[in-house]
Amino acid sequence: MPQMTDERVRAGLAREEDLSLLHEVSMKTAGVSHLEMCIQCGTCGGSCPVAMEMDHTPRMLFAMLRAGMREEVLRSNTPWLCVSCYHCVVRCPQEVHIADVMYTLKGMAIKAKLYRDSTAPDFSQTFVDMVESYGRSYEFGLASRHYLKHFPLRLPGMIPMGFGMITKSRMAITPRKIKHMDQLTAILKRAKQLELTS
């Protein structure tokens, strides 16, 4: 891969910094992403249940990555709409870890503050805050904080649902905490330091 990059740069087909975006995303993705192997067949977009609402189909997004269009890629709503159904992943002839690449792009967009709508990043962050405080998810805290901020108008229509969830004891009002929270906190603290240096 690096050798091919050099050749393309020498031939004037691409600038080095452009090509490095594809490489950067690939390196930041868990597992071996196979992103460089994309043949632009479009099977991913054709398999996607929410493609019609995406700014760019995954295929198009991967072409933009290759073209080094950093800002456009990180501003795209595509990764935020991905529902992680893995239809594209099992159908991709090149075995690109598409859903995991989407996770990587979300993380990069958050760090670069380049998302357009904060609903999804806020939801993820709130969820993570709860997990980092208690070690378990805390649905009541998550739902109330999230809906008050992002969907206040949806709340009246949700009263019967929320009420049903509570009376059927499917949603606890108080959080549950794991026993060794200090251990988890230490692990996550170290993991965050490692994330910065990798």
């Binding site: 868990a30 597992g31 071996v32 249940p49 929410v50 609402e53 935020w80 709409l81 529902v83 992680s84 159904c85 893995y86 239809h87 099992v90 859903a99 995991d100 996770y103 990587t104 979300k106 993380g107 958050i110 609903t119 939801f123 962050q125 969820f127 993570v128 997990v131 070690g135 378990r136 998810s137 649905e139 739902a143 999230h146 969907f151 949806r154 229509g157 949700m158 009263i159 649902m161 009420f163 049903g164 969830m165 009376t167 059927k168 499917r170 949603m171 606890a172 794991i178 060794h180 251990q183 988890l184 230490a186 692990i187 996550l188 170290r190 993991a191 965050k192 490692l194 994330e195 990798s198």
Partner: protein, 335 residues
């Protein structure tokens, strides 16, 4: 019978309590034994992975490390069972990627080390509950435990996405049309309806961040099950159950439809077939009631007295209470 380590996951103690209750209830008849992983933590669902890579995988790996430690004290156990599809996928994913990309494994272990833990990727088998039931317990054993066949119960098997895909360890019969749930429901005597959408998405977290997108995905699943004449849907995942059950009402409002499609966990249907009572199986905890659906096969779900939604008494502006004429007189009379 083989002992397994259980990773229940957060939903099993809250929104999917009925799943846990029914799982506990069917373990006896099947002679199944689970040891819960001590002090397990949240798997991060689909949220943590989109924020930070190493912390997300370290969060998952703490569970694997704890499980591996516990497994050493249990003779011959190396299987972690997750009843939730999202937990199952995250645990399987961490185990697999730590092997596929050794540098990830090294970093995750460095983080775990800060908590005095270690995990050697590949040390455990991560499997979903239905995998254990169909392939370890076996359909024959399940068939033999049936006391009250679900004859005539028209049900669509809904597998969802995160169970059969991406399938790192090649555990399922197919990625898009797996038949494990069909086979299991048939073993219970149910009238299983062919359901092409069996692995279509329920919307996942979109009910929280893009409701209109989620409503359409829910509508497709519910409408198709309805058109095929299903009395109810059977699921293997707390997230799918939550989306289709708790958001069905909002979805109906959004589209102006009137669907009423109950969705139960497959373990609840197993319990019914094993002759257990609905209230031992958490039946009735669903928001879209399965009462009428189950009445079709002569199962009576006791009516739980549902408290009316609290209505705040209108008291106008905060003012001292006005004394009525009668009250004043009464007061005076007391004096």
């Amino acid at each position: 019978m083989n002992k397994y380590l259980l990773f229940p996951g957060c939903s099993m103690e809250s929104s999917a309590k009925a799943y846990m209750e029914s799982l506990n209830a069917i373990m006896g008849p099947l002679d199944l034994h689970f040891a819960e992983i001590d002090d397990w933590n949240c798997c991060g669902a689909t949220e943590y992975l989109g924020i930070n890579l190493i912390p997300a995988y370290s969060l998952i790996a703490r569970n694997l490390a704890l499980a591996a430690q516990q497994a050493k004290q249990m003779d011959g156990t190396r299987t972690v069972v997750a009843p939730c599809s999202a937990c199952y996928l995250n645990l399987a994913k961490a185990d697999y990627y730590m092997q596929e990309r050794p540098s990830l494994g090294v970093k995750v272990n460095e983080a775990l080390d800060a908590g005095g833990l270690q995990y050697e990727a590949g040390a455990l088998d991560v499997r979903h509950l239905i995998d254990i039931l169909v392939y370890d317990v076996g359909l024959e054993t399940i068939r033999n435990a049936v006391m009250r066949p679900l004859t005539g119960l028209k049900v669509v098997p809904y597998m969802g996405c995160m169970l059969p895909r991406p399938d790192y360890q090649h555990r399922w019969s197919d990625h898009e049309h797996p038949t494990e749930l069909d086979d299991l429901l048939r073993a219970l005597g149910a009238d299983v309806i062919d359901y092409p959408l069996t692995t279509s998405c329920c919307g996942g977290h979109m009910t929280q961040i893009g409701p209109e997108t989620a409503f359409e995905l829910i509508r497709r699943l519910v409408a198709d099950a309805d058109e095929r004449g299903a009395y109810l849907m059977a699921t293997v995942c707390p997230m799918c159950q939550m989306n289709i059950d708790a958001y069905q009402n909002e979805m109906n409002h959004f589209f102006g439809t009137e669907y009423h499609m109950p969705i139960l966990f497959f373990t609840q249907l197993m319990g019914l077939a094993f002759g257990l009572a609905p209230d031992e199986l958490g039946i009735g905890a669903e928001l879209v009631s399965s009462r009428n659906a189950l009445a079709n096969i002569g199962v009576e779900v006791p009516v739980t007295q549902e408290p009316a939604a609290p209505r705040k008494k209108y008291e106008g502006l905060p003012m001292p209470p006005r004394l009525l004429k009668g009250q004043r007189r009464e007061k005076e009379a007391v004096k």
